[in-house]
Amino acid sequence: MIWIDTLAQGLLLGGLYALFAAGLSLVFGIMRLVNLAHGDLIILGAYLILTIAHATGLHPFVAVLLAAPLMFGLGWALQTFLLNRVLGNDILPPLLVTFGLSVVIQNGLLSAFTADSQKLTAGAIEAQSMDLGIVTLGVMPVLTFASAVAVVFALNQLFYRTALGRAFRATSDDAVTAQLMGIHPQRVFAMATGIAMVVATIAALYLGTRANFDPSIGPARLLYAFEAVIIGGLGSLWGTLAGGVVIGLAQAIGASVNPEWQILSGHLAFVLVLLIRPRGLFPRAND
């Protein structure tokens, strides 16, 4: 029954990757922005939660509620003052600016917090597990996966049930025509990045409780997150979740053959999916 366990763990891992990727997917889907600083922004979120938790003595799960609005503001400001100026047909300027941002955030955090490993401590829940008979699953990984599903569900509701979501989709379809509807694309983008940062804060919570983090660790999972977004298909949030799960499963299966194959398997799954479907699993019809 080991393989069931392998699949279950891979699935849960996919949840973590999807959580990393959800914010990226949102921003990528709406404005074709490849945010190379996403990983570092997640780490920034983790430090923010840590600082709040230390200062107030709050549990990280509570501290995240205070961190989220701050991160929203940061995302909004970033988009308004920086990223909006470089959006366009050319993918290079945003790529460069976000990479520059990544370097700045990493080194800024390094000067502020040193390179010491940090971790968010959530208490006893970290080691708790649920015995489901065939498999034993950690409470935190299950919570992570559930949060990923919840985030994707919530974002989907936002996308398909609200006026803001309508504006998101319209702007993403055709920003010029959206202006003719009285939509300010730049404001819409700022909202989107703000929301993406809230999602990043949630990702930070789970990353920070799962393993140690330090200022340099952000980019490590960025590639997996991008893979999840691309496998899922541009603009499809459920696709991103599926993409995360594909990577997670591939890694888990690869690892069960030999840990040497773990990360390689994730990459190979990505290449395989794109060879068969160059636009991902669930591409939008009109791209």
Partner: protein, 397 residues
């Protein structure tokens, strides 16, 4: 008459390895303060490897050709020491190196690590630290003192340290086999892996009661929380590298209690500095006062680097003569704050004897204090009985 020369010092002051370098500036100042008394007119040029091996090689080249240093000191992890030593050996500049187990240092610098026949000695680079065999025997001494089923779980990454530990020739597998331990080694994983379920499954299948490995701190945290979640509860966990620094252990919270680790230096080590006469405890206290943080193991070794340097320079007539200085380093025999340092002793295999001097290693256990901080208690000293025990080994369950 005073001898004047330039010394380069390379260490990872920024980046992920920077925790190793917390004592750097403190020790450099100490050395510079002591130098005039020893008749030395030295300049120390400090270079940051940024935790990046390419950058380490670059700064080594800079030290040699721009700053024209006469001696290079280098510390902390094979990622820093090896590029610097490789270049210095090519350039024929003497190096004193430390804080990397000797196998990844020596074998890792060989062209073909897999072919012992091809290994060559070095003429200019000298390293002092302990080796895998010390770490292994320290760990096994701890394990032997507890009754277990002798099933050992191993978590070894695909990096310099992990490959050395896993080596069927010089690593842990033959030592385990010799003492009747059975090993479960699922294979080399990449650093910064997010999921260890495959390994945990294998360990559970084999019913391992002992867990060992040499992961980096974030990976151990991921592994150990997952192990707890998935019901893998070994009696003893002896992990190298990941548990060096109190911060990494503190990050584990309750899960950090009673984990065991190798201890290369502590304030309780009964050694004194040959440079300043301070005891290990004095040095640790001085560091804690100046840096406002808990002592760490590299503190003693960074200090010892300068002890060896000062001693070798003193014994060289013309320290700007590379070959003479290298020879003086090779004939070092001092009692330093990390123990005896002397190259060419028979506690190192023939092929590496010239370039390696071993320092003592003992075993320690992290104990969570009432205030949430962690203390490292020495619980095993069979290889170095002169280092006093601070308590007895406790099992996890």
């Amino acid at each position: 008459q005073t001898k004047s020369l330039k010394i380069g010092y390379v260490s990872p002051q920024t980046g992920p390895l920077s925790a190793f370098s917390a004592a750097d500036s403190f020790m450099v100042e100490k050395f510079l303060a002591a130098a005039p008394g020893l008749g030395l007119d030295v300049e120390v040029i400090v270079k940051d490897s940024q935790s990046n091996p390419n950058r380490a090689a670059e700064v080594a080249k800079e030290l040699i050709s721009r700053d024209e240093v006469n001696l290079i000191l280098v510390a902390s992890t094979p990622e820093t020491t090896n590029p610097v030593c490789s270049i210095a050996e090519q350039e024929e500049i003497p190096v004193i190196s430390t804080v990397a187990p000797w196998q990844p240092w020596f074998i890792g610098q060989q062209g073909n690590p897999g072919d012992p026949a091809s290994w060559q000695e070095f003429d200019y680079v000298y390293h002092f630290f302990w080796g895998l065999e010390d770490n292994i025997s320290t760990f096994m001494n701890m394990w032997n003192s507890v009754s277990t089923n002798k099933q050992v779980a191993a978590l070894w990454p695909n990096d310099g340290d992990g490959n050395a530990w896993a080596s069927p020739d010089v690593g842990m597998p033959p030592a385990l086999a010799a003492q009747g331990y059975a090993l479960t080694d699922p294979g080399r994983y990449q650093n910064l892996t997010d999921d260890f379920s495959a390994q945990i499954n294998a360990f559970k299948q084999a019913g391992c009661e002992i867990m060992t490995g040499i992961p980096i701190p974030p990976d151990f945290t991921t592994f150990w929380t997952q192990a707890k979640q998935q019901g893998f509860n070994p009696k003893l966990v002896s992990v190298a590298k990941a548990l060096l620094f109190p911060e990494s252990v503190a990050a584990l919270g309750d899960l950090g209690h009673n984990l065991t680790a190798e201890v290369w230096w502590s304030p309780n080590h009964p050694f004194k500095s040959s440079l300043t006469g301070e005891s290990a405890a004095d040095l640790a206290m001085a560091f804690e006062a100046s840096a406002k943080r808990q002592w760490t193991m590299p503190v003693g070794f960074v200090h010892a680097l300068f002890e060896v340097a000062a001693d070798a320079i003193k014994r060289t007539d013309d320290p700007t003569d590379s070959a003479a200085l290298a020879a003086a380093i090779g004939s070092t025999n001092i009692d330093s704050v990390v123990g005896k340092i002397q190259w060419g002793r028979d506690n190192v295999p023939e092929f590496a004897r010239k370039n390696i001097s071993k320092t003592p290693l003992v075993g320690g256990q992290w104990r969570k204090q009432a205030d949430g901080s962690f203390d490292l208690v020495i619980v095993e000293n069979a290889n170095a009985p002169n280092i006093p025990l601070g308590g007895t080994l406790e099992t996890l369950s």
